[in-house]
């Protein structure tokens, strides 16, 4: 990709700073926030012990990765190469095997408006369908970092699409519960499927305030919060709750805390569903996802997916 860009835009300034992924810098800027949510289980958020042994077996794990790097500047406009990958690792016995094939897609991201018609034409001739436009107004004079962040979001969107396509294919072909790394509200089909359970490890947004927040941050190991609804203008509402995977004694309150998502409709007793899915997630806490730094919130199946994607992407 780097060579292709260099050949297409020979007057550009190549960037060779050790392939530092943009995701490490650009996506940290999201400000943490607290949002209130509608409690679906009872009237107020409280803790619920997860009954032992009630877990539904997880049949497969879905995860995706992305990696974006600036390979050249054409004037002040960054040209970015993004790689997205997604995989489902299905359980066979105690082993995890790749379901069908891992998806790996590479693209070149640039702002057509900022780059100019001639440069865009040259890039199109070289990259063809691999070239993606990062929408940005042509009359604005953006900060290069803003262009970069927009590109990263475009890459993220492609990753989500890859994950969703893979999940849909899996729903069509297989049975059992799919453990999704992250939220499931991205598509209607995932958000409404009884066979998807999403587990969110990051807590930039916490769906609790006041006493509810205290309740969540004080969750003991093996207990969950009451179920609440997450809504978003562009996404399908889902049921969600917080679950403490590991004892946070001696750590920060978010240590070992995940947020679980499942479909809200047609699940019958929502409490029982939350208990069953919580137990299923808790059963995946062994083996540990070490040496990943997020091992307190990551299950081994997701680490396995990431290792595979690291090898193939």
């Amino acid at each position: 990709m780097r060579r292709l860009v260099a050949a297409s835009l020979p007057l550009g300034r190549p960037v060779d700073d050790g392939d530092a992924p943009l995701e490490l810098v650009s996506m940290r800027n999201d400000a943490p926030r607290l949002l209130s949510a509608t409690v679906l289980e009872g009237h107020a958020l409280r803790t619920h012990p997860v009954p032992e042994g009630a877990g539904e077996a997880i049949a497969a794990f879905l995860d995706g990765t992305q990696r974006s790097t600036v390979v050249q500047f054409s004037g002040v406009v960054p040209i970015i190469v993004g790689v997205v990958a997604a995989v489902i690792r299905g359980r066979r016995g105690e082993r995890l095997l790749t379901w069908r094939r891992a998806v790996v897609e590479r693209r070149i991201y640039a702002s057509r408006a900022q780059l100019g018609a001639a440069a865009w034409e040259r890039l199109t001739r070289g990259a063809g369908e691999l070239l993606c436009d990062v929408p940005f107004a042509s009359d604005a004079e953006p900060h290069p970092f803003a262009l970069r962040d927009a590109a990263v979001h475009a890459v993220q969107r492609h990753r989500e699409l890859a994950e969703q396509a893979l999940a849909h294919a899996w729903f069509d072909a297989e049975g059992g519960l799919l453990f999704v790394d992250g939220g499931i509200s991205g598509t209607e089909r995932m958000a409404t499927s009884r066979r998807a359970v999403g587990v969110v490890k990051s807590h930039g947004t916490l769906y609790a305030q006041g006493a509810a927040l205290e309740c969540i941050l004080g969750l003991p190991q093996g207990e969950r919060s009451s179920v609440f609804r997450i809504t978003s203008p562009k996404r399908t509402p889902v049921a969600s709750w917080y679950l403490r995977l590991r004892d946070a004694a001696g750590h920060d309150p978010l240590w070992g805390l995940v947020r679980v998502e499942c479909c809200e409709r047609d699940v019958g007793d929502l409490s029982a569903r939350a208990d069953a899915l919580s137990a299923a997630v808790l059963q995946e806490t062994s083996p540990l996802a070490l040496p990943d730094a997020r091992w307190d919130r990551m299950v081994y199946g997701i680490r396995d997916c990431e290792e595979l994607l690291r090898a193939v992407s």
Binding site: G93, E284, S286, P287, L288, P291, E307
Partner: protein
């Protein structure tokens, strides 16, 4: 071709070379240390897709854990909590293989990336370069065992030209004691040689020195083998039967009547021949029994004088009281006494330039020999020996020296091997190839210690024997402690289970840690084989010999217990004439001394006459049969004096 079981991998830190490569497999693949694999490269070189054969020398396994502590944490310190786990950690099986062969051989390149399969039977032959000597019409293969891995079951052949000469020769076996590996392996290899040695290569026989216990005492008796061993025999094309032709040789005990062997049961004596040597045979190898302190230049000169001028000749000297004809130790002692008496009479210190002290010293040392080797050395000069000049094809000759003193063992080794060499040089042995099996090489050819005659002799066979057809099969527990030139000249080396300390010596540094560990834990019936055609050691299985084990033989045929001198003589003679009785022996020998009886017995055993009674009795003075005294049973009447005889007459 078998199913793909692995893929070649190489990293910058663990690259492949022309001699070594790495591959990974599934967790359940049948690959293990010693497995032969085949790599099919994907990129053609000079228009040919390269194929590489290798043998697995090391195996590695690891998971994605960065520290064992992480696993402890994962189980909360409780190993038993594994049952809660639904997912097993990702694990890798990575193997290192040493290259056996590249096809094509040139250009010699690092092993390419490619798929790895188990070597099939044809692949094994190619990998070990056996195709060169298993060709139709030029088949010189000798089966050494069967290589097994996965579904492959392949006979491994040694090249007779490299086992028995002339290209290379000699075989050395190492292994710990007590697992029956060394002796069993030699028995198996000899059976295999006898079954497969090509006729166009000539005849072959074996001389085995039984140096301990009953190991080699029942080679002609059938043993029990199981179905698996039977299958190995069939696969290797070797009859599962004991040796057809075996001859045993053993000296007498010091009593002179019972054989010094555990094969002394009367039922087995038909192929046991006493081994007795006379003065001539012993004096030729006097240096074996006399150390440098004993034999200085002056003593050596006197011994040479005796060998050249006295032994087996009519010796006359004006100083001596009579003419001597020396053919036995007794004759020699009489000659010495005469010489010393003559010096005393003349009050002189030298006789024919030999000083009296030297004469006394040599007399003392030589006389000692007959005492130290009593049973082997016959006082009468009579010899019962190996069939020099008439050794037979496919026959094993066992010389049982297990019960002998060290001196006598050395004497037997030295004389037998030297004479074998002499006769092979003259093409007068009866066979073209003679295998000599010597166990306990640690004792007879140690790497350090004094330079003994036996060690020199073993070195000589090792270095020059292959040109003559004299092949050394040797065994020892500690290869590292055997003279390097003896083991170094062995073209073929077999290793059974090895001692850990031995494996830690520098000689085994060329083996990978996994191979060394495997050697330390080898089962009975498994060997590691090194052969000139094999670029890497190969593990094989060999069947338990279809021969009665030593301890079983001793139980089934307990050694004879000699009750009396006459009973011992009877046992020796009944082999020739089963009708002889103890009473007849006692009556025939009642007037003879024990030496006379032994001389008669030796002569009969040596000559094996048709009429044993007459031949044996002819050595003794005729005894007059006892008869009743010829006198009247009535006592003579008492003399009655006349009544009127005044003087009482």
């Amino acid at each position: 071709m078998t199913a793909t079981l692995g893929r070649v991998v190489a990293t910058e830190r663990r690259p492949n070379t022309p001699h070594e490569f790495h591959f990974w497999t599934a967790l359940d693949s049948p690959v293990g240390i010693g497995t032969i694999v085949r790599v099919d490269g994907s990129e053609p070189v000079n228009g040919v897709r390269p194929t590489v054969f290798g043998v697995v020398t090391e195996g590695f396994s690891w998971t994605d854990l960065a520290s064992p502590l992480h696993d402890v944490l994962g189980f909360d310190g409780n190993p038993g909590s594994e049952s809660q786990r639904r997912t097993a950690r990702t694990e890798i099986r990575l193997y290192t293989a040493a290259v056996l062969r590249h096809i094509p051989e040139e250009p010699l390149q690092p092993v390419p990336m490619g798929t790895v399969t188990l070597a099939a039977e044809d692949d094994v032959a190619l990998a070990l370069r056996m195709d060169g000597y298993l060709r139709e019409g030029a088949h010189t293969g000798i089966p050494v065992g069967v290589y097994r891995a996965g579904g492959t079951d392949s006979t491994i052949w040694l090249d007779a030209d490299f086992l028995l000469g002339p290209e290379a020769a000699h075989l050395n076996i190492s292994g710990v004691s007590g697992l029956a590996t060394k002796t069993s392996a030699v028995e198996w290899i000899l059976q295999s040689i006898f079954a497969h040695f090509p006729a166009q290569k000539g005849s072959v026989a074996a001389i085995c020195f039984n140096v301990k216990g009953p190991d080699l005492c029942f080679l002609d008796m059938p043993g029990v083998i199981d179905a698996a061993d039977q299958h190995l025999y069939e696969q290797c094309g070797v009859p599962a039967a004991p040796f057809e032709h075996v001859q045993y040789f053993a000296p007498y005990r010091s009593d002179g009547v019972s054989l010094n062997t555990l094969r002394s049961n009367e039922a087995l004596l038909d192929n046991v021949t006493p081994l007795t040597w006379g003065l001539r045979e012993v004096l030729q190898y006097a240096e074996v029994l006399l150390n440098k302190d004993d034999v200085d230049a002056k003593a050596d000169a006197l011994i040479d004088f005796i060998k050249e001028n006295v032994l087996d000749k009519r010796f006359t000297d004006s100083m001596l009281e009579r003419t001597h004809s020396v053919s036995s130790f007794a004759d020699l002692d009489a000659w010495f006494r005469d010489v010393l008496r003559a010096l005393e009479r003349k009050d002189d210190q030298t006789w024919r330039t030999h000083h009296v002290a030297t004469i006394r010293k040599v007399r003392n040392r030589l006389s000692n020999i007959s005492l130290r080797c009593k049973g082997l050395v016959a006082d009468d000069g009579a010899t019962s020996d190996l069939p020099w000049g008439s050794f037979e094809d496919r026959t094993v000759y066992v010389i049982d020296v297990a019960g002998l003193e060290e001196d006598a063992q050395d004497l037997i080794f030295a004389r037998v091997v030297t004479k074998l060499r002499e006769q092979l040089e003259k093409h007068d042995l009866g066979v073209q190839h003679m295998v000599v099996f010597v166990d306990e090489l640690n004792k007879y050819a140690p790497g350090d210690g004094p330079d003994t005659y036996v060690r020199k002799m073993l070195l000589d066979i090792s270095e020059r024997g292959r040109y003559l057809g004299l092949v050394l099969f040797s065994a020892q527990q500690f290869r590292s402690q055997v003279h390097r030139r003896v083991v170094g000249n062995a073209g073929t080396a077999l290793y059974g289970r090895m001692d850990g300390d031995e494996l830690a010596t520098p000689g085994y540094a060329v083996l990978s840690p996994a191979i060394r560990t495997k050697l330390a834990t080898l089962e009975k019936g498994q060997l590691m084989v090194r052969h000139p055609h094999f670029t890497q050691p190969i593990f094989v299985r060999f069947p338990r010999p279809a021969i009665m084990r030593g301890r079983d033989g001793v139980s089934a045929y307990p050694p004879a217990q000699v009750q009396s001198f006459s009973a011992g003589v009877l046992r020796s003679l009944r082999v020739l004439d089963p009708a002889l009785t103890l009473q007849w022996i006692e009556e025939t020998t009642q007037l003879a001394t024990e030496d006379e009886i032994l001389r008669a017995r030796n002569a009969v055993v040596r000559e094996r006459p048709e009429n044993v009674r007459r031949a044996f009795a002819s050595h003794f003075r005729a005894a007059i049969a006892p008869r009743a005294a010829d006198r009247s049973l009535t006592p003579a009447p008492l003399h009655v004096p006349p009544a009127d005889d005044p003087y009482g007459f």
